[in-house]
């Protein structure tokens, strides 16, 4: 039996609909629900190419990861594709070749980085070309500007102080920014604790549109908790509408309840062609950091 806590879901997930939805699932399972791991008897399927691409306006923050889908019960990493031809072109006709794992690092198999460093520019459109076994997969995305975080603050989360999940990890971040009201923006956030990407729940994606947002964003609590002495970093990415839709769909898929109260699971809509899974994201990036003292 479990009675879930809600404050987690009240924090950064600003897309109101996903907020509603979280409440729903919790409420549905609120009274009595038990669960156990079961083995699904699954059919074979044809594996597909998976591409995760990122181009930002920051130096050394671009990569393309090329992998394949795997069996659901495969315990390890999915297969890496190390022999793909990867290039990015921009709308001015520049061609940026990517090379596979130049450091030769075992952990970076399947990851391609630019041959020579380059940074994306606001307003430019970038197209990714990935050729795997003679098949070409492409995607285009635009680099939109991002607002800047005015400041990052932190405070003791009273609920956590009373009953901490991890001893001493009781500080939450407070974000302050101005949401430009005269343009349509979409955001993606990443939270780091001591340089490691952190979540409240592993399937969380912190993203938002600005449909419901007022201009003054002041003191919004972050989802990740910190201890004294921790280094906190927040990365705020601009994303395109396609990016917002991809992350929204991905979030729905990752947090799906099996199609009871939530929609029937579906593959996220992507900008990639030719049936590839994943997404090619082009973003401007704003980083804010603080020490928890």
């Amino acid at each position: 039996m479990k009675i879930q806590r809600t404050e987690n879901n009240m924090t950064m997930r600003k897309a109101v609909s996903s907020f509603v939805f979280s409440l729903l699932v919790i409420a549905a399972l609120f009274f009595m629900s038990c669960e156990e791991t079961v083995k699904l008897d699954l059919d074979d399927y044809t594996s597909a190419v998976v591409i995760e691409g990122l181009v930002t306006n920051q130096e050394n923050y671009q990569f393309v990861k090329v992998t394949r889908t795997a069996d659901f019960y495969d315990p390890g990493n999915t297969p890496r594709i190390t022999n793909a031809e990867v290039t990015v072109t921009d709308d001015l006709g520049n061609v940026i070749p990517f090379v596979h794992n130049p450091s030769g690092n075992e952990d970076s198999l399947g990851i391609y980085i630019p041959e020579t460093p380059f940074t994306g520019a606001v307003g430019r459109t970038y197209t990714l070309h990935v050729e795997v076994d003679g098949l070409l997969y492409e995607a285009t995305d635009k680099l939109f500007p991002v607002t800047t975080m005015d400041s990052l603050n932190y405070e003791i989360d009273e609920d956590e102080q009373e009953d901490p999940e991890v001893e001493g990890r009781i500080y939450s971040l407070l974000l302050f920014t101005q949401e430009p009201q005269d343009e349509i923006n979409y955001y993606l956030f990443k939270f780091f604790r001591n340089d490691s990407l952190s979540f409240d729940t592993d399937s969380d994606i912190y993203f938002s549109d600005d449909e419901f947002l007022a201009e003054n964003i002041s003191g919004v609590e972050g989802p990740v908790l910190y201890s004294q002495g921790d280094h906190a970093r927040v990365e705020m990415f601009s994303i395109s509408r396609e990016g917002y839709i991809y992350y929204n769909d991905l979030s729905n898929l990752l947090n799906n309840d099996g199609g009871v109260f939530s929609p029937i699971p579906a593959s996220p809509r992507t900008n990639l062609t030719n049936g590839a899974l994943g997404f090619f994201q082009v973003s401007a990036l704003d980083i804010s950091e603080t020490e928890i003292e």
């Binding site: 629900s33 699954l42 592993d202 964003i217």
Partner: protein
């Protein structure tokens, strides 16, 4: 339409019986103990082999040739009354039937139980006998007719702990749920754990699955017509109960004996007690209030006012976040007899549904509200033309207002701004005419037509899209503005309804029916189980009315002197413009919802077998349904046909109660159904630190079967006898053999007990969620 009316009238008038001199016998039939009017009482004249039944207001009228006749009045659970009536002129005869249990204080078998199920033309209908339902085990001991309806043949439950049901391949929003004729838009409490129907106040509930009478319209698949009691007009009484989930109290009594009465009932949850015990900051509560006043001014004028309001409130973290939803309805009714043959019912009906969500937080404070209102004027007439023809006709006017959503900040420092989706308005004019005609001794026809003129009206803006199926890049090419009451879109639909009964032999009949139903109010949901936070929409510029055609055939037979009722029915239903959503649709708070839904086809067929024993110490029902439901919607499942979420190929249900003696009654139910079809992953992949599933075919996997047995025992202590205070204990065990019935299956990255990812963070697992383990409950009911 008018031509049809004329034809019907001519057919009716031209029947040969018209030439004889005719008189009409009419009246109201009620329960002799409490004065409650009885619905569906059989009135039969053996000499003429003619009969009728009381309507929803307890009124009957039959036109016959002059003469002296024996008239039988019979109703299930009541002693048959045979009265000799001299009919030389029109006669009004009000009848009081005696409840068998009260009459003799023991269980008897009536010498001639009625065979209404065989002789009536109506097929595909189930009547819920509330006193029988009370003998059966219930979840948490809380008697709930919706849970009972979910066990009827042809009805599929959305799942344990839900109030959603699917009738003959229809969606969860295709059931018109009425309380005293007023629609209830969401019948659930606590997300469906219980329904809004408090069993104490229910007089009668009927579910129409096919052969739907012309007087009903607006939903494709079923009509659930729930009537509440009028209140005892003979003596004051209090009824109540204390259960493990909710407590109830009802007060009823005469205002003026035999003439006017009132009833007020309240039910409130007591879950807070558990939650307090569990030391959580979260609370969940619901309540229902029903009130009714009725006044029988004289035999020709009767007035009723019925009110219902109910609400759920769920709060988290001591009220920092919460939500609620509720229905309110009001019905004013005036039954009037113009003359012996012409009965009318004029109703004013109002209904409202709303939900609210709120988060109280300095930065994230937000309030979200949504509501819909409906007002109706109904004029229904019944005319007893002659022995062989009963005409009914009417006009229903409905106005609806939909306010799908408004969000606003509730603190000055909130990051949210105010945003409201535009309201939608609709007007519906429905006309119907219907005749029930006896042809010879064996044939009975019921034929009619309903005309619905539905208008989506202004004010409102309609966006014109360059590609309405593109829900990624939404481009409004143009906006059409409409003023108040300006017509945005009109849909006119004719709905023919035809039923036929052919008597094969005494106690045996064959029935056929065809009906077309049209639905102009749609629930916008992409899930299997609708939740209160889904919004409704009228048919509009883009959204087309859903249309269903159903044919059904059935063989009805009673055995053992009508002790056992048996039937086998088969149906085929063809549904058009059923609404589904494109993959990844955004259904909440979306002003461009038109880009998300897709309308397509659905078809369903099945066979239902039912054996019912309605008399005796051992009563119960056994049913088995085989059915198949498919959908084919553009852009859903790549446009390929797929099995509907609510397809359950095999469903079997057993309900039984046994009156051991006047002290103990036992009840048992067993239910079995094929598992829910669901979409499961074919594989997995990596994106960042996430491990999404690979999704291929929709609803390609069938969950393990659902089955469960419940038992109950009802104790009426002997000391009740001769006491004014009568107490009753109901002990129940839910899920006796502790079956872990699958509610749903979801997937996740392998985690430990505390929800922390373990291992390399790339391994996935499937989790089966099940709801209720074996659960005992105790309820105490009282009456004085």
């Amino acid at each position: 339409m008018i031509r049809f009316l004329i034809v019907v009238t001519l057919v009716a008038l031209s029947s040969p019986a018209w030439s004889q001199e005719k008189v009409t016998l009419n009246g109201y039939i009620k329960d002799g103990t409490n004065g409650e009017e009885l619905i569906g009482v059989s009135v039969y004249i053996p000499q003429l082999k003619a009969g009728t039944v009381t309507n929803a207001y307890g009124f009957y009228a039959i036109t016959v040739p002059k003469g002296t006749f024996e008239v039988q009045f019979s109703y299930i659970g009541y002693t048959v009354q045979t009265v000799t009536i001299e009919l030389n002129s029109d006669v009004t005869r009000n009848i009081e039937l005696q409840n068998e249990a009260t009459a003799l204080n023991e269980i008897v078998v009536t010498d001639k139980p009625i065979d209404e199920n065989v002789v009536s033309v109506q097929m595909s209908k189930n009547t819920i006998n509330i006193s029988q339902v009370k003998k059966l085990p219930a979840l948490f001991g809380e008697v709930d007719i919706i849970k009972n309806i979910q066990m009827l043949p042809g009805v599929i439950s959305a799942g344990e702990g839900t109030s959603t049901f699917f009738v003959r391949g229809g969606g969860g929003d295709q059931n018109l749920i009425l309380i005293d004729e007023a629609p209830i838009y969401d019948p659930s409490h606590l997300f469906g754990l219980f329904s809004v129907f408090n069993a104490d106040v229910i007089k009668d509930a009927e579910l129409y699955k096919g052969g739907i009478p012309s007087r009903f319209g607006g939903r494709l698949s079923s009509i659930l017509d729930v009537r509440t009691i009028d209140g005892n007009n003979k003596k004051f009484g209090v009824t109540g109960g204390i259960g493990s989930i909710a407590s109830r109290i009802m007060v009823e009594g005469p205002i003026k004996k035999d003439e006017s009465s009132y009833v007020v009932s309240a039910r409130t949850s007591n879950i807070w007690a558990y939650l307090a015990a569990a030391n959580t900051d979260n609370t969940a509560n619901f309540y229902d209030i029903n009130a009714k006043v009725n006044w029988r001014a004289n035999n020709t004028n009767r007035f009723f006012i019925a009110l219902y309001t109910g609400r759920d409130k769920i709060a988290f973290d001591g009220g920092d976040a919460g939500f609620g939803w509720g229905n309110s309805t009001a019905t004013f009714r005036w039954n009037h007899l113009y003359n012996e043959r012409l009965f009318s019912n004029i109703s004013f009906i109002a209904s409202q549904f709303d939900y609210k969500l709120e988060v109280k937080d300095p930065a994230l404070g937000i309030k979200w509200i949504s509501s819909l209102q409906q007002a109706m004027l109904k004029a229904d007439f019944q005319y007893a033309i002659n022995t062989n023809n009963e005409l009914s006709f009417g006009y229903h006017l409905t106005g609806q207002r939909f306010a799908p959503g408004k969000v606003s900040p509730n603190t000055t420092s909130s990051i949210f701004s105010t945003l409201e989706l535009q309201h939608k308005y609709a007007l519906d004019h429905s006309f119907y005419v219907n005749n029930q005609q006896r042809v010879g001794e064996k044939l009975l026809f019921d034929y009619g037509v309903r005309l619905s003129v539905f208008q989506n009206i202004g004010p409102g803006d309609v966006y014109i899209y360059n590609d309405r199926t593109d829900n990624v890049n939404i481009v409004h090419e143009d906006t059409l503005n409409y003023n108040n009451f300006e017509n945005i879109k009109t849909y006119v639909n004719l709905e023919p309804r035809v039923s036929m009964r052919y008597t094969l032999a005494e106690g045996q009949s064959l029935k056929l029916s065809y009906n077309r139903m049209v639905q102009n109010t749609h629930l916008m949901t992409a899930a299997t189980v609708p939740v209160p936070f889904n919004t409704w929409s009228p048919s509009d510029y883009y959204l087309k009315p859903q249309i269903a055609d159903q044919v059904a055939a059935g063989y009805f037979r009673n055995f053992h002197n009508n002790m056992f009722e048996a039937s086998i029915e088969a149906y085929y239903k063809d549904l058009n413009n059923v609404t589904d959503f494109a993959d990844n649709a955004q259904v909440f708070f979306n002003e461009d919802l038109a880009t998300e839904y897709r309308q397509g086809d659905s078809w369903s067929y099945g066979a239902e077998l039912m054996i019912n024993k309605k008399e005796g110490r051992l009563m119960g029902m056994l049913s088995y349904t085989w059915s198949k439901t498919m959908r084919k919607i553009p852009e859903v499942n790549q446009g390929e046909a797929f099995i509907a979420n609510y397809d359950r190929r095999n469903v079997a249900n057993i309900q039984a109660s046994y009156d051991l003696n006047s002290k103990w009654t036992f009840g048992a139910t067993f239910t079995y159904s094929t598992g829910r079809p669901m979409t499961v992953p074919a594989g997995k992949y990596e994106y960042g630190s996430y491990n999404p599933d690979v999704i291929t075919e929709r609803n390609g996997y069938v969950m393990p079967a659902f089955h469960r047995m419940d038992l109950s025992a009802t104790l009426n202590p002997r000391k009740n006898e001769g006491r004014r205070w009568k107490g009753q204990w109901v002990f129940a065990i839910y899920n006796v053999y502790n079956r872990k019935n699958p509610f749903t299956i979801y997937t996740r990255t392998v985690q430990d007990e505390d929800g922390n990812v373990i291992g390399n963070g790339r391994q996935k697992e499937a989790r089966l969620v099940y709801l209720f383990p074996v659960m005992p409950s105790v309820t105490y009911n009282f009456k004085f």
